[in-house]
């Protein structure tokens, strides 16, 4: 059977079906697989053939044992869903509309590998790997110059990520819903080397992202400490952390 990739003439229905079948099976080599994916949007016959194979073979998904995902996976997905609006189009080729500007560009914290690294490694290694991975992502507006992964002190479970696109502004992004007792609040602190003590960046709502200008502080430095502590509902009465550290991490400069 001949290779149909570069043949503009109409392939026989059987060839088309075999090509679609191999595409759905997954046996096409990378280049041919990409070729099919590029053809699909404009090729109704191929779309139809692929859809038929997807329907025929769908029962085979039952042969893979289900595996319960860890709870953190949904937290991660939910976080990404909040950042990505559904595209309100009936067809994938409709022109973009004004309110869809927050389209689901993959952000650096969604990047494959980052969470693997966080879950499986010590924090320092995770931060280094994450920084390396950040540099490999598709270009996004204002890549972060610093990143911090805030982890729980006892089990190193990542709870928040700080990213700074400039040394003057940071974003605090929750990875899940931190549990805070009803009579307590989370307060966000930072301390760079050489400072006499931590400086409050304000109170933080569990599960809510937060943008914080650093206009009254010196620019961010590598290794600068960030932490979230448990404080009274109106914040620490003395301007210094008084309660237990819930999450802690240090800034890593992104290469």
């Amino acid at each position: 059977m001949t290779d149909q990739r570069n043949t503009p003439s109409t392939p026989s229905p059987e060839d088309l079906s075999v090509l679609a079948g191999e595409y759905v099976l997954g046996t096409l080599p990378a280049a041919e697989r990409q070729g099919v994916q590029q053809r699909l949007p404009g090729d109704k016959a191929l779309q139809q053939a692929v859809a038929e194979w997807e329907a025929r073979l769908l029962p085979l998904t039952q042969l893979a044992e289900p595996i319960s995902p860890p709870a953190v996976l949904w937290a991660r997905i939910d976080q990404s869903l909040r950042a990505a609006s559904p595209q309100q189009t009936a067809t994938p080729v409709a022109p973009p509309r004004a309110e869809t500007k927050r389209k689901p560009s993959v952000r650096w914290w969604d990047h494959l590998g980052l969470w693997r690294a966080l879950a499986g490694s010590g924090f320092a290694m995770a931060a280094v790997l994450a920084a390396v991975l950040v540099t490999r992502t598709a270009p996004v507006a204002a890549p972060p110059q610093f990143m911090v992964v805030l982890v729980a002190p006892h089990d190193k479970a990542p709870g928040w990520v700080v990213q700074a696109s400039s040394p003057r502004q940071i974003s605090l992004i929750p990875l899940g819903m931190a549990e805070v007792p009803a009579d307590k609040a989370l307060e966000f602190w930072t301390k760079a080397d050489g400072w006499s003590g931590p400086v409050s960046l304000g109170l933080v709502q569990p599960g809510q992202p937060l943008q914080i200008p650093l206009d009254k502080l010196p620019p961010l430095q590598p290794n600068q400490l960030f932490e979230l502590t448990l404080e009274p509902p109106t914040g620490s009465p003395i301007g210094k952390p008084t309660g237990p550290i819930q999450f802690i991490g240090r800034a890593v400069k992104v290469l």
């Binding site: 075999v18 099976l25 997954g26 046996t27 869903l81 499986g120």
Partner: protein
């Protein structure tokens, strides 16, 4: 096309996702998450990567829900095609030199031992839940059937199937093509 399993309304869930209802996406995930992770893991063979695939697939499903067209197939089928495409793209693009992590390797080996124990000739246990497909797969001779199953379920390339079955590459390619033709006829 009626979707299984249970009474879960996959089409309604996608419509709600398209309307921005995150709860609908959560229900869909609760309904299918474990099966989706299982499907992804068999293909990519690394637990963390499989979880990444499920994450990306959910974001894809969420953002592209409005583009789902019921005329092109079932909603549940569409969801699985998103996951399988991402998983297959990941293993094909990576040149398929995947290091299987130890935990997954143990799980897969255990799985294979169980399969080997249950059936000497058959690599995959087929059962009635596969419906018409089961009948058509059983009509193929075992080697051809295993080609199809190793490809679809395990994400194997032609070369990997040849290795597993101890058959020449060209033979495997021909078996797969002929199996596809036979299956299409049988299921028509």
């Amino acid at each position: 096309m009626p979707d299984t399993p249970g009474d879960f309304d996959y089409e309604a869930a996608l419509a709600a996702c398209a309307a921005g209802d995150r709860q609908a996406m959560h229900r869909l995930y609760q309904q299918e998450g474990a099966r989706l992770l299982g499907v992804a893991l068999r293909i990519v063979r690394q637990r963390a990567l499989a979880e990444d695939i499920v994450h990306d697939a959910c974001v894809n499903i969420w953002t592209r829900a409005a583009s789902y067209d019921p005329r092109r197939g079932s909603a549940r089928g569409w969801i699985y095609s998103v996951v399988r495409n991402l998983a297959l793209n990941a293993v094909r693009d990576a040149g398929r030199h995947v290091d299987v992590d130890d935990t997954t390797k143990q799980a897969l080996e255990a799985d294979m031992s169980v399969q080997a124990h249950h059936e000497v000739e058959e690599t995959f246990a087929l059962n009635a839940s596969l419906g018409r497909l089961q009948h058509c797969l059983e009509a193929l001779d075992p080697a051809r059937r295993n080609c199809v199953l190793h490809a679809y379920v395990d994400g194997c390339s032609h070369g990997e199937i040849a290795e597993r079955l101890g058959a020449p590459l060209g033979t495997v390619k021909a078996w797969i093509r002929r199996s596809l033709v036979s299956l299409r006829e049988c299921m028509a």
